[in-house]
Amino acid sequence: MIRSEKSPLWERTQKLFGRPKEQWTTIDHMIYGSDDYFRIPIDTVKEMRLKAIKESLHHHYENSRFYHQLCKDYSFQPSDIQTMDDLERIPMLPDTFFKEYPSEHPKDVYEWLKKISTVDVGVYDFKGKDLQEFLRWAEKRLDGLVNHSSGTTGHYSFMFRDKITFHRFYYAVIKTLLTIPPELDDDPHYIYPGSPNTFLTIGKWLGEGAKVFSPANRHFLTNREISMTIARLMSTGHAKNFKEKLVLKALKKAMIKGEQTLLELLKDIDSKKQQAVIISPPFQLYSLMMHMKQQGIQLDLGDTNSVVFTGGGWKIFEDRKVPQSEFAKLVHETLGIPEKYYVDVYGMSEMNGLGVSCEGGYKHIHPWIHPMVLDDNEGTIGYGGWGRFAFLDPVAHSYPGYIITGDRVKLLKRCPLCDREGSVLESDITRMAGAEAKGCANLMRGLMAEELTKVHGRKGV
């Protein structure tokens, strides 16, 4: 818990991601002014969320030529929204929209970004042809956060967050995750078994999030840069030439070596009785834990209130799913962290909010996100039925955060197991039929699958 606002970690969070109170709107009051996001009375949540969405709608309607025109095409005006029931009338964007840039030439991506962005991206003075470099330029220009998807289908999905969106989102996420450990040290270790040196969503997000930890206590599997080309190479798994084969081989080697180094690091942290915040895609942590099991290594990280977070997709084996409860048990057996301090997080690159799992595995959605479940015709199913996940996200300031996703979910009015307020998603989230595979965390999985099979056989534990 961030019980003390004087904790260095908390001070860094405030410094990096805080926003001046005089600039707060309703959404800022929800994010910066709430003690516990999941304990706000539901009536207050509804009232504040509706107000925040209305404000956000006005912002995008007034400042985005694209969204203004889209609303006109739907014969919709922000003033049409009076009550919660009206929210389903808001024109939404499919998540695939963010990969519809005309070409990978930086100038074309810039022109596209300029059209879809609600904030000003300024004039184009980027000189060069490299898209990764352009993303660096755009991030600097927006003073925010830019990330891309794996490019599995041949096209990357780009998200451009300006400073306001970035800060709100990061503050909320860090606050949410850091309130989970029962006690938080002044200087815990942060461990992410991936590379922060990338614009690939998971690496980028976790690399940026690491900045609230002290530099000496940030640990990654590798610092090798994962460029866009490498990300795509990893996602397809097909090296086109000798050079690409070498790149893949080197990357795989680095990951295997890095895993052993991380294990040594965890042992060291355990022996020194220090706290660790481990955050990883399920696949990678599973691989690490299987190695530990094989080598008979058992740690007691639970003694120091260490925590484990997973996120980014549950595809561990091609042919078998590891239940979250089984995973939590393995966390306890190998790392010594109690099952209740293992938390799986549901998120996606377009959403500025998370679904945080409780002990029952239900994903508690951040209160500012208005979740919807749609049927095949985009009619709202409501609670209790399986359908397509869609949401209204008033945090998004640089793009309209009203998104229809490709995830298949079931929404419940409240958690059947715990007493936190708000609606929850059932843990069994999959992709809709016909929706393309997603989850950049799975990139590493493809690369490491062979290794994992060697460790514990095809069937797993």
Partner: protein
């Protein structure tokens, strides 16, 4: 009344509405044909296994024999008289009108019966234009053929009826059945973002023009999770809506049959491919309706139904393209 004026009233000339409709659609087809000649070649020779039309082997209804005592409203009033392809005095039409309750039921009850009959028994397909009596005799037709039959059956019974024509945009399910079946049509519709022509009917009942769409066979709805159309219900709220202006002529132009037969001669493969797709959907619908009460289905689906227009997923992209 002069013959020219009368013909104009009856809609026998290709007026400005028709000209506009063709002007905004035909150049696009020509452009695609020039840019993608293979599509045309394939459309012409492709899909040999598809049927040229969906005429049922055995009609699911019997046309009663015409008897002399059967009354015919031979009025010369607008919207009651015979127009091109719409032959309300033809004996089969008159006999069927009697079977459906003409002059016995109220206008509304009778028109609703006609609506249910056409939507339930006449199969939609992609075939050259027919007269109302041909459509009744063969038991199949395009949306316009079925509409002509609806109008003829109304006029026979003394109910004014007219066409309601427009270039339509359908829900994704319709797009998947009709447009994706053939690459040429799909490319054309994607290019236009609407189809050339669709017709709903309007019958004048109790002092009001009631819209009814008889093109959607009931068995098409369940496989596509769309509601069953009701009499008097505007399909624009459900599954097909005007993309451009609507016009409500009394009849079809005299050249309609000739011009609308041309595509079937030029792109026979296209018609076959679309008919094959319609038949598949029909069969799926028939199978589903064996175990389902239509009313129950309709009630359930309407609870959450919201039309997902065929371009809804791409709407944002289209708006972006326009900027």
């Amino acid at each position: 009344m002069g013959i020219v004026k009368q013909w104009r009233e009856k809609g026998y000339f290709f007026d400005l509405n028709w000209t506009k409709t063709f002007a905004r659609t035909i150049p696009s087809l020509l452009y695609i044909a020039i840019r993608h000649p293979l599509l045309v070649v394939n459309a012409n020779k492709g899909c040999k296994e598809g049927p040229l039309n969906l005429r049922p082997e055995k009609r699911p209804y019997t046309i009663p024999t015409y008897e002399k005592h059967m009354k015919i409203d031979r009025s010369d009033q607008r919207y009651l008289r015979q127009t091109f392809l719409c032959d309300p005095y033809q004996p089969d039409i008159v006999a069927m009108a009697y079977e459906l309750g003409a002059f016995k039921l109220s206008d509304r009850e009778y028109a609703e019966n006609v609506f249910l009959f056409i939507n339930g028994k006449i199969r939609i397909d992609f075939s050259p234009p027919k007269t109302a009596s041909e459509c009744l005799k063969w038991g199949h037709g395009t949306c316009i053929d079925k509409l002509t039959l609806f109008i003829a059956l109304c006029r026979t019974a003394g109910i004014k009826a007219r066409y309601r024509l427009y270039s339509p945009q359908g829900v994704e399910a319709l797009y998947n059945i009709y447009m994706t079946a053939d690459p040429l049509v799909q490319k054309w519709v994607d290019n236009l973002n609407f189809f050339v022509l669709h017709g709903s009917g309007e019958a004048y009942i109790d002092g009001k023009w009631e819209i009814s769409d008889v093109s959607a066979d009931f068995y098409h709805a369940p496989p596509n999770r769309i509601p069953i159309p009701h009499f008097g219900e505007d399909p624009a709220d459900l599954w097909i809506k005007p993309a451009k202006g609507i016009w409500q002529p009394e009849g079809l132009p005299i050249g309609f049959k000739f011009f609308m037969t041309l595509p079937f001669l030029l792109f026979r493969g296209t018609g076959r491919a679309i008919n094959l797709s319609i038949r598949k959907n029909y069969e799926a619908g028939v199978k589903m309706l064996e175990h389902m009460d239509l009313e129950e289905y309709d009630k359930e689906i309407r609870r959450t139904y919201k039309p997902r227009w065929h371009d809804s997923a791409r709407k944002a992209s289209r708006v972006l393209d326009k900027l």
